[in-house]
């Protein structure tokens, strides 16, 4: 297209473009953001796929994530090792899912992962309590927290096992009109 960038090969950019919801310019911009998180660690030349991972502590300091109460869980859900260390692939993947072009189903899958604190593929009452406390910064009384968690499970649980499986969660999310606009980070 005429831009003489040497960070990625054309083939790599095509692959990124097909695998995410970003255009070439946005991918290059993302690389610049990734690079400025740790200029000494991140190489400018990605043509030979360097194996470089940034730790959780650096990623959650980004201005887009800094104030989000779920920032740790977000980064952990997208990291392959589950500890929050993101390579550039995972970094791009994270912002692609959180962009406004991602479809509802894809966002629902990752939202479920984020709220599942104990990673057992169910949203049990403990997960909900942690979510609620993060949401309200622990300003609700324990009885209120209990009440809200009970009501939430009561509303969304379809198969009656007192915890929310992925299909329960997805069924509830498809009826939430705000989900697409709130589960969205602009970068």
């Amino acid at each position: 297209m005429g831009n003489k960038q040497t960070i990625f090969t054309d083939e790599q950019l095509d692959a990124y473009q097909d695998c995410t919801f970003f255009t070439r310019k946005e991918i290059l911009r993302l690389h610049a953001r990734y690079h400025e998180l740790a200029p000494h660690l991140v190489p400018m030349d990605y043509t030979n796929e360097p194996d470089c991972k940034l730790p959780l502590a650096l990623i959650v300091n980004m201005p887009e994530l800094k104030e989000n109460p779920f920032r740790n869980r977000i980064v952990e859900s997208f990291s392959e090792d589950g500890m929050g260390n993101l390579s550039f692939n995972e970094f791009v993947d994270m912002f692609s899912v959180l962009s406004e072009m991602a479809p509802r189903e894809l966002k629902a899958i990752y939202a479920f992962k984020i709220y599942d604190y104990n990673v057992d593929n169910y949203l049990c009452k403990e997960d909900l309590k942690k979510t609620l406390n993060k949401l309200t910064k622990e300003e609700l009384t324990p009885e209120e927290v209990d009440l809200v968690c009970d009501k939430t499970i009561e509303e969304a649980d379809l198969d009656g096992d007192n915890k929310l499986s992925y299909s329960d969660f997805e069924n509830m999310i498809t009826r939430a009109p705000d989900f697409l606009s709130t589960f969205h980070i602009r970068i």
Partner: protein, 693 residues
């Protein structure tokens, strides 16, 4: 065994769903090396069953890690295409289509107006306030495009053909009706220019701003003819049609979201917990406020539950008193609104009767209707809020009721104003009365009544923007200064101002309705409105960031878009009614304007119709005849029935599928328990067979 179950369960879904369900299962097993490549190659028989053009496996929507996706992409692209010419052509087509879409998306992104400001507002104040500014932007663009339309077809030809003599010289009106002196004789003082600017009289009255300046020129060249009155009429009609189209398109988008999500308040708590947090929230202050906001919403819900329980526990006697109190308060609020209307009518009458006063007093008298409307729209909702405290409805019902009252008040004030004007102009519709006998309208007070109506609308628009500016300078900034720097009880009780979205939206809708009503009589009003709304955007943005704190009570942004457009649509309907009445019933002025020689404004269409070519006339007659219209009507009814039954079928299948989901969940539980019992009986050590999905 669980796998067999799942594949059977997913077999009932449509074919396109199969791959994604399988993928989710493999993903949830957290064991990526088990990913089955062969079942997802594009030549798979199942893929061929999917819809046309979907043979390209869309990698972006798969929940795999990036490394896997890129590996899959490599596989896709390194495979020698053993596909037919048709398939490869289709794939190329979808690829180029996607490239074009991406490029146009980038272009729109760069060109979109005020994008950064809207982002900042949304991040700091939430979706509800952002939706107000998005609505404002929509109105700015709508008004600007309308102005371009009017300029192209009415203004520029009028300027170009100004020197051409008017072709209709046969005057059919009585002599007395044709007197019109927009320029009063004698010396004009300098400060009169300023007064004239504000009230649309004097040098502004006889200008392109108002209807009265346009003449009924009909240019006929060798092969070019332009009929300005016809152009004026058609532009007005097309302008209304265009605005209706824009409103309906935007409403369609909002309604589709509402229908797709079931449109209900089902799952209130789960909605708040899982979708309450706005991930695009920026800044430390904003997140703290967001947390307080969610806390407040949950408390409101818990409070509503308590109120419901209390209401259910009322005794009969208490219920009767409550309901009679509500009826009484309803009558009281209705009385307040009607008294506001009476005041507006009186003010308009008074202002019209004393319209010949000079100087500052004259200016105030001219603006009297606007002043009374604004004061009424400020006081009456305040009083109704106090009344609502006595009525003791639940919080959500209170909000809805307050909104309804405000909408009725705003839109009907305009109705009252126009009715009073109509009364004066047409002597109450009585053509035989003394003043209206000669020209069928009150020619003494209104030699050019269209210009006068246009002037009233112009004054309303101007007053609106002046009042906003005055409020900004004189009320909002001082309030913030007082609240921030003094610690008195009053300051603490007053608190910083909150940006109340519904009231502001009603102001916008009111302004736009005024413009629509006046566009026929004041063609440049859309341009003035564009400038007004642009100024309003910056005023409101400044006040938002410097003077306001985010509201504790939220306004749901998705439902609200539809509500704004609905109120706008009601305003549009009213403006259309006014336009149709002016076109078809009232006699145009004899002394000014492009329609001065016609019986009604509409009668130019039959006149020009007969000057068309004979075959065009016959074609148009055919289109308007019963032989054509009745079959078209029958077809439209059939189409409507089809779509209604289709949507009913879809609704039914959605409900059935939901029921099926529930049943499958219970079946899974039952079967898992069976497996566990069986394995215990046979003493087979099983790994964790709990069903993952």
């Amino acid at each position: 065994m669980a796998n067999i179950l799942l594949s059977e369960a997913s077999g009932t879904a449509c074919p396109g769903e199969l791959p994604s369900l399988r993928l989710r299962r493999t993903w949830s097993n957290q064991n990526y090396s088990q990913f089955n490549w062969t079942s997802h190659s594009p030549d798979n028989a199942e893929e061929e069953r999917t819809e046309e053009g979907d043979t390209d496996w869309d990698l972006r929507e798969k929940p795999l890690t990036m490394a896997l996706k890129r590996a899959a992409w490599q596989v896709q692209h390194s495979q020698a295409p053993v596909v037919s010419n048709k398939d490869s052509w289709k794939r190329k087509k979808t690829k180029t289509f996607r490239k074009v879409k991406n490029n146009s998306r980038e272009l729109l992104y760069v060109l979109s107006l005020w994008r950064k400001s809207l982002q900042k507002i949304g991040g700091n104040f939430g979706g509800g306030v952002q939706s107000y500014f998005v609505f404002l932007r929509f109105l700015v663009v709508l008004n600007f495009v309308s102005f371009l339309l009017i300029a192209a077809f009415v203004l520029i030809p009028s300027i170009v053909f100004r020197s051409v003599e008017s072709s209709y010289t046969n005057s059919t009106g009585p002599e007395g009706c044709r007197k019109y002196e927009p320029h009063p004789p004698g010396l004009v003082l300098f400060y009169n220019y300023f007064l004239d600017l504000l009230s649309g009289t004097g040098f502004m009255e006889y200008s392109y701003l108002f209807y009265g300046y346009y003449s009924n020129t009909m240019v006929e060249d060798r092969d070019f003819s332009y009929n300005i009155p016809l152009a004026y009429l058609f532009t007005a009609l097309f302008y209304f049609g265009f605005c209706l189209l824009c409103i309906i398109l935007r409403m369609g988008r909002a309604v589709r979201v509402a229908i797709a999500t079931g449109g209900g308040d089902v799952g209130n708590y789960s909605m708040i917990v899982f979708t309450g947090w706005d991930y695009s929230c920026l800044g430390d202050q904003a997140t703290k406020l967001k947390q307080k906001n969610i806390h407040y919403r949950l408390q409101v819900d818990l409070e509503e539950q308590r109120i419901k329980r209390k209401a259910a526990a009322l005794t009969l006697c208490e219920k009767i008193t409550l309901y009679s109190l509500r009826v009484l308060m309803g009558i009281l609020s209705l009385g307040l609104i009607c008294s506001a209307f009476i005041c507006i009518g009186l003010a308009t009458n008074f202002s019209q009767e004393n319209s010949d006063k000079e100087g500052i007093l004259g200016l105030i008298l001219e603006y009297l209707p606007s002043i009374v409307i604004t004061t009424g729209n400020f006081l009456v909702p305040l009083l109704c809020d106090q009344i609502a405290k006595v009525e003791k409805y639940s919080p959500s019902n209170t909000v809805i009721l307050a909104l309804l009252r405000a909408v009725v008040l705003r839109l009907l004030s305009l109705v009252v104003l126009l009715y009073t004007l109509w009364n004066q102009i047409t002597c109450g519709g009585d053509n035989k009365s003394e003043e209206c006998n000669l020209c069928q309208y009150n020619h003494k007070d209104y030699p050019c009544w269209e210009t006068r109506v246009g002037q009233e609308m112009y004054k309303l628009t101007l007053f609106d923007v002046l009042i906003h500016f005055a409020l900004l300078i004189l009320v909002e900034f001082p309030r913030r200064i007082v609240v921030d720097h003094s610690s008195s009880k009053l300051a603490r009780w007053l608190g910083r101002q909150e940006f109340v979205v519904p009231a502001n939206v009603l102001l916008l809708v009111y302004g736009q309705t005024v413009v629509w009503t006046g566009a026929l009589f004041c063609p440049l009003l859309p341009l003035i409105n564009t400038i007004k709304f642009i100024c309003l955007f910056y005023f409101k943005k400044i006040t938002l960031f410097y003077n306001c704190q985010p509201a504790h009570k939220t306004f749901r942004s998705t439902n609200s878009a539809f509500f704004f457009l609905l109120v706008l649509f009601i305003g549009w309907c009213w403006a259309t009614a006014v336009m149709v009445y002016s076109l078809a019933v009232i006699h145009p002025s004899f002394s000014c304007g492009p329609f001065r020689f016609f019986r009604t404004m509409w009668s130019i269409i039959p006149t020009s119709f007969y000057s068309l070519h004979q075959s065009s006339q016959e074609f148009l007659f055919f289109v308007g005849s019963q032989a054509f219209l009745i079959p078209v009507f029958v077809l439209a009814v059939v189409g409507l029935c089809y779509f209604i039954s289709l949507s009913a079928v879809y609704g039914n299948s959605v409900a059935l599928m939901r029921l099926q989901l529930k049943r499958e969940g219970r079946d899974k539980q039952f079967l898992v328990k069976q497996i566990e019992e069986l394995s215990k009986k046979l003493h087979i050590p099983t790994h964790n067979t709990t069903v993952q999905n």
